[in-house]
């Protein structure tokens, strides 16, 4: 992967000047390449990685395994696309194994998610079955550990 993308993945807020200094290239070059990635749709957005457990949010997340009937011609794409358009669905993946689609669904509470599953998801043509798991606690998200305060145990000066 391009080193520029690695740096953005680690910290998308890093100033263009610092990125340029780390890569040994000019600021204009950094801006040009980022613009190019955005235009090509490689970079699709920038988000903060939150430790939501600290925020006491009125929110639950469910991971839902969905079995569907693939369509002739379109395979899983049309139904996956259709499911992905629900705002409650935060992430959607096609999986190998005992089910087909894995959805990360957010709602205000258990009932909210349950009603999404029974009223919307399960009623869609082609959806054969669903299995819903609620997330209880986040330890690591997007490669970031949620535990804070990693003390530097090294001596402050060493040879």
């Amino acid at each position: 992967m391009d080193e520029l993308l690695k740096l953005l993945l680690a910290n998308a807020c890093e100033s263009r000047a610092t990125i340029a200094q780390q890569l040994g290239i000019g600021v204009e070059e950094v801006e040009r390449r980022i613009a190019e990635y955005e235009k090509r749709g490689v970079i699709r957005g920038y988000q903060a990685v939150l430790n939501e457990d600290q925020l006491d949010l009125d929110k639950v997340t469910a991971v839902i395994e969905v079995k569907v009937t693939p369509e002739r011609g379109g395979g899983f794409n049309r139904i996956a696309d259709r499911l992905s358009r629900f705002p409650e669905v935060r992430s959607a993946y096609l999986m190998s194994g005992t089910y087909d689609l894995l959805l990360f669904v957010e709602g205000h509470n258990l009932r909210d998610v349950a009603s999404f599953v029974s009223a919307k998801l399960a009623t869609i043509d082609g959806v054969l079955s669903t299995s819903t798991h609620f997330m209880l606690k986040t330890y690591k998200r997007l490669g970031v550990l949620m535990e804070t305060n990693h003390e530097d145990e090294r001596l402050t000066i060493s040879p």
């Binding site: 690695k6 890569l23 090294r154 402050t156 000066i157 060493s158 040879p159």
Partner: protein, 394 residues
């Protein structure tokens, strides 16, 4: 304890030990450790934790009860893996049974090597600025240290001309350390070829400390041991501290001709017995997939190196572009302060710790060592503070 008529205890300390000053780094550490909110660019070890799979394998080794002595030379399985690693990396093949010794860090390996090779009065050539222990371990081995000053103008590389000026008929050993602590200097194959030719002509033994071998940023490292005719006269010392971020494991090794390894093993067996057994198991795990761990760290160090060199340039500080290890050695001579005073003032006024160049030899005067084994945000903040500081110095 002192009684009249008898010498003080200090006078009864063995002369080679009594006469050697404590490491300058130690004094500086004592000052820094009394202060709060210091950003330290003075740390000579990786800020990365040991790769998780290595730590996990250590725990497994402990669970399994791998807590006993090992063979003096180290686990044969590990020695085989080490011989394989060195063979693959440098094309130099060692017999795991007789030519590899597992040690407690490169520090022990260096001490063993010198004690195994030096008769009292034998001279040892080494280049400064260098790792803080070199001069001391030569003296502890009753050798005569011959320091060669390397210069910023040469990129802190060692040249044949410098060696020729210092060598005498009593010179027995040449010690090398590239990539270098504290300058970050590296030697190209071509640079090393003239050193190797000199060693062959003068029949010198070479001890090469390659602890930073994996950490190069502008091309792969060449080891002098891989040059023609050098295997038979070279001791290759390496370890897991830097590239694998395993400093606290204290695990190193020496590869060399069987006669020398056997001599080193004799000292090791009587003084150390063996390196830690579970650390040896961890090292095996580290070698099982070295590249992915190291690549990630090297990429990060390279970016920080680039940032730091660019930041120094922005501050008008001259700095040889370091191509290896994780140190930069900028020239602070133009401010007219001795390196130690510069470092102390920077610490007091801006709470940034750097190590005075003089800790690495007298010719380090006018320089400070800045380690970039620290998170980029810290380095950025340190550069801001350094900028403020030298702005006031004018």
């Amino acid at each position: 304890m002192k009684t009249s008529g008898s010498p003080s205890l200090r006078d009864r300390i063995a002369a080679p030990v009594r006469d050697i000053p404590r490491s300058g780094i130690r004094d500086f550490f004592d000052i820094v450790s009394t202060m709060q909110d210091v950003i330290s660019l003075g740390i000579g070890e990786p800020d990365f934790d040991t790769p998780w799979h290595v730590r996990e394998s250590t725990v497994f080794a402990l669970e399994r009860g791998t807590t006993h002595y090992t063979s003096n030379l180290g686990y044969l399985e590990l020695r085989k893996a080490l011989a394989g690693y060195v063979g693959k990396k440098y094309g130099v093949n060692y017999d795991a049974e007789s030519e590899v010794l597992v040690t407690v860090g490169v520090s022990e390996a260096l001490d063993l090597a010198l004690r195994a090779l030096i008769n009292p009065g034998d001279e040892v050539l080494y280049h400064e600025p260098c790792y803080v222990s070199y001069r001391a371990v030569i003296l502890f081995a009753h050798g005569v240290p011959l320091a060669i000053e390397t210069r910023a103008a040469d990129g802190f590389r060692l040249t044949r001309a410098m060696l020729e000026k210092k060598v005498t008929p009593r010179t027995k050993v040449l010690m090398l350390n590239f990539p270098n602590n504290p300058t970050g200097a590296t030697m190209s194959r071509q640079d090393l070829e003239e050193i190797a030719a000199f060693a062959r002509e003068r029949d010198l033994l070479v001890i090469t400390d390659e602890i930073y071998a994996e950490l190069t940023y502008d091309g792969p490292h060449t080891s002098i041991v891989s040059l023609p005719g050098m295997r038979a006269r070279t001791l290759f010392l390496h370890g897991f501290s830097k590239a694998w971020a395993m400093t606290g494991y204290r695990l190193g090794y020496a590869c060399g001709p069987a006669e020398v390894i056997d001599a080193m093993m004799k000292i090791h067996q009587y003084t150390m017995l063996c390196a830690s057994s579970f650390a040896q198991k961890a090292a095996l795990e580290a070698l099982a997939r070295p590249d992915s761990d190291i690549e990630t760290m090297v990429a990060e160090y390279r970016r920080r190196r680039n940032f730091l060199v660019s930041a120094f340039a922005g501050l008008g500080l001259e700095c040889t572009r370091p191509a290896g290890a994780f140190y930069a050695f900028p020239n602070i001579g133009k401010f007219g302060l001795p390196a130690k005073e510069f470092a102390l003032k920077l610490l007091e006024q801006e709470r940034v710790a750097v190590v005075p160049g003089t800790a690495f030899g007298a010719c380090g005067e006018g320089f400070v060592r800045c380690a970039y084994a620290t998170r980029l945000e810290q380095i950025k903040e340190a550069m801001k503070r350094l900028g403020r500081f030298i702005g006031r110095l004018g």
